[in-house]
Subunit: 349 residues, 3 copies
């Protein structure tokens, strides 16, 4: 049950509606369930009550599932028989996806009031769309264009000529410059976009700086987590494709290109001119050395150190990263060899 | 000697007072020291003068100890005999702790003036306690509760219904939402607490977002370093227990639970639903994969990649992390095997 | 070609001028090139047109070089013969440095207008130099000194007694306390300097805090990337030498000393009391354990875990880090041993 001081529920849903929205199937043994039975909230398994919907997607939580008081639960077919009595099992091949879909009905994206704070400083030459909310302390410079339905959070700073598409939300305390940002983009708080990349040339006369003359281009439906930094391009643009999701405290260097529907977990660092394809999954704290290419659909384990190109669909891990099977084999080999030491000649030397 | 433009000393202390406060013992050979001798400051060994108190806690600095001009020095008994002439040796089993205790006397926590800046924007429905300082540019939304004696730094943004306990300090440029924060908490600058976690479900229809309906609950006496991000829970709450200390640029994902008196060094990343117990020590740049449990009193070496549960009191290191002895053995084995290469058949293939 | 909404070109340059500025040599076969031929911009190889100057510095881009439409290109002598027809090859031993030098002519550092925003809050006891720009929302406390020609970005917070040298730029949303900063320093957005270090002493009575009574001292011509945190010293000062360049999201702990002309890439973490010399090159996501010394001219591979001192000029890599040759050997050994498994006795056990 969510804290009503922070969250507002939009509706209740009947079992019938839940099935219709998600395409889940009520287990055959349970088809006598009243189709108009109402559910009023989502909840994790442990804390759910009979009016809540829950989900099981990770077998680590099977015992929580078996003892949950949830009224209904999205679950894969093979685990449905382990449900406790009284739980309606909603069979789905994608239980977490189904749960998220229902959660969005209970908790739709918060609508903001259109309101321009008198404590914001907005250049006259900027163009602010309709139904925009601009919070106190925001600074918007010349020739900025903000689309309809946008929300700019408190104390954020938008530099000259930046463009932000319709229905995008910029959190509090962000800075954005040299950027063109799409529609329905969510940028969380404390994100810095468009600053100089780390472009220095070292020579006999010392270190000199390459002026960074590219931009940041962000597609539609992108989400960017708190504290993330995205440098503008050195000459090319830095690009993030539509539908991609970036977590907190990620570093994206100049000229990086990220494709569509790619997900990058927290604290990953992507060095300059790296190209990452569509539908790539990147774990947390991964490091990419510069000028590498990661093809579509690749998956990269957390903390990997990527020093080479990665082919389409491949899964990599390790430092330096290799194919995931090779990495597991390496890890197992080292573990085995190090345990043999006492009776091994290797240790005699 | 601290720079008086930045720091104000509160007092001088006599040798007698220092002994009384810390429980340290003056070395027997030195008991003729005048008990009323005054000390006026703390200092590292190299820069200390005869009116300063210093400490030796790391044997790397033994040579600095042997040549220090410090008037007095907290030191373990076994090193006391190596003190230079004229230094009063204050025998303690916890020299650094004793030094910190005395340092707090010279430099007590800065008292702030109770003052609400007219340049702050504070919702009428919020409740601000007594003796609170609110700096310019702060934005406080509806139904926020700020306890007595709090300090909210410049340009910080506190969202609706957030609660902050008595005598807590929020640094400049922080954002806080969906959170309940305890007493005597110190949050340094640029910290973001309560934003959406990275909760996306991937399915055949693409990526969809799970609304994040949990909160962040922070206990008493917690300290959180600059640039750290703490996401609110997805369904459960994200929790940080009383007395825990978090360093800079740490990522704490949704549903993470951290116990009491746990210390986490900089740039560590804790994935979703990880549970960390009481009194755990975590080095810098450690990564925790999600849904793992770290039991009380565990210690984790810097840069480790934690992929499994860790038992109480265990010390782990490596990537992937194993018990610290296994890791040292693995490291030694790899070093040894790689050096044998030239004369080894392995290299003939 | 840069986007004129964001960037303003200062000039055109003739071939003669380019040669004079950079010291590059026109390839002998091309000395009939008109010396007054004008160039109007810089560009990467792929997007360059005949009025653009480009460069080749990484052999990964040789094929882009061979098909580039750039009018002229800085290139090492050995690759000049592979230039496409019509391209003027400008022979240089430091093509990237030469390119950066010319880029600075086309795009000199932006001049800011001297303007103190009426929406900034500036203490009367502070001293603001001539030709300073202070943006809206800035908060400057007592006794701050800001040199001539400085620029303080929107919503930044400068605490009491901080000194900033002439012609330094502080980006938006920075916080600075307890610091003395040199001339011509560039601090990007969202940087936090001078907060408490992570100084806690653990003892039988629990965790206690050591008051942090040092400062941050930053030399001239330093550049610090977005989101970076630099803690003030515990007793000594935290120091960054002149000419050093720090990338985004770097953590610099209390008492760290960094020399001159050292470069540190993104997300690196430097633990307390580490000493790094002059001209050191540090890759991204490196971790330094505390109290180590890195001598002048050392180079450290990305993601390394430094646990020991590093001698002058040495190159290190790995976790734990060893000399780069040893690391490569270790990596190769592990890869080889793990592949031998099927036919190897080791796997029989």
């Amino acid at each position: 049950m969510s804290d009503s001081r922070f969250f507002t529920k939009a509706c209740e849903l009947s079992l019938d509606e839940i099935v219709a929205i998600t395409g889940a199937a009520i287990a055959p043994s349970q088809t006598t369930q009243p189709k108009l039975r109402k559910f009023s909230d989502i909840s994790p398994l442990e804390t759910a009550s009979e009016s809540d919907i829950s989900f099981l997607d990770n077998t680590k939580y099977l015992s929580e599932f078996e003892t949950s008081k949830a009224g209904a639960c999205f679950v894969r077919e093979k685990f449905a028989s382990r449900a406790p009595r009284g739980m309606v099992t909603l069979i789905s091949e994608e239980p977490y996806y189904a749960y998220a879909t229902i959660a969005q009905k209970f908790y739709p994206k918060e609508k903001h009031e259109a309101l321009i704070s008198p404590l914001a400083q907005i250049a006259k030459s900027s163009h602010i769309g309709n139904n925009v909310r601009i919070d106190p302390g925001v600074v918007i410079s010349d020739n900025v264009k903000i689309g309809d339905g946008c929300w700019i959070g408190a104390n954020s700073v938008i530099d000259k000529a930046v463009q932000i598409g319709d229905n995008s939300c910029i959190g509090a305390l962000c800075s954005i410059s040299h950027s063109i940002i799409g529609k329905n983009v969510t940028i969380h708080r404390g994100v810095h976009i468009g600053q100089d990349g780390f472009g220095f040339a070292g020579g006999r006369k010392g270190i000199t700086k390459l002026p960074q003359t590219g931009r940041v281009i962000i597609g539609d439906n992108v989400e960017i987590g708190s504290g993330t930094c995205i440098d503008r391009g050195a000459g090319h643009d830095t690009k993030i494709g539509s539908g991609s999701k970036i977590d907190n405290l990620v570093q994206i260097a100049h000229n990086v290109q990220i494709g569509r529907h790619t997900m990058i977990a927290a604290q990953t660092g992507i060095s300059g001119s790296t190209i990452i394809g569509d539908g790539v999954l990147v774990g947390g704290q991964v490091g990419f050395s510069g000028h590498t290419t990661i093809a579509n659909g690749a998956k990269i384990a957390a903390q990997s150190g990527i020093m080479t190109d990665i082919p389409a669909g491949a899964t990599y891990g390790g430092y330096p990263a290799v194919s995931i099977l090779d990495w597991h084999r390496q890890t197992a080999t080292v573990a085995k060899l190090s345990k043999r030491k006492p009776q091994n000649k290797l240790s005699d030397e």
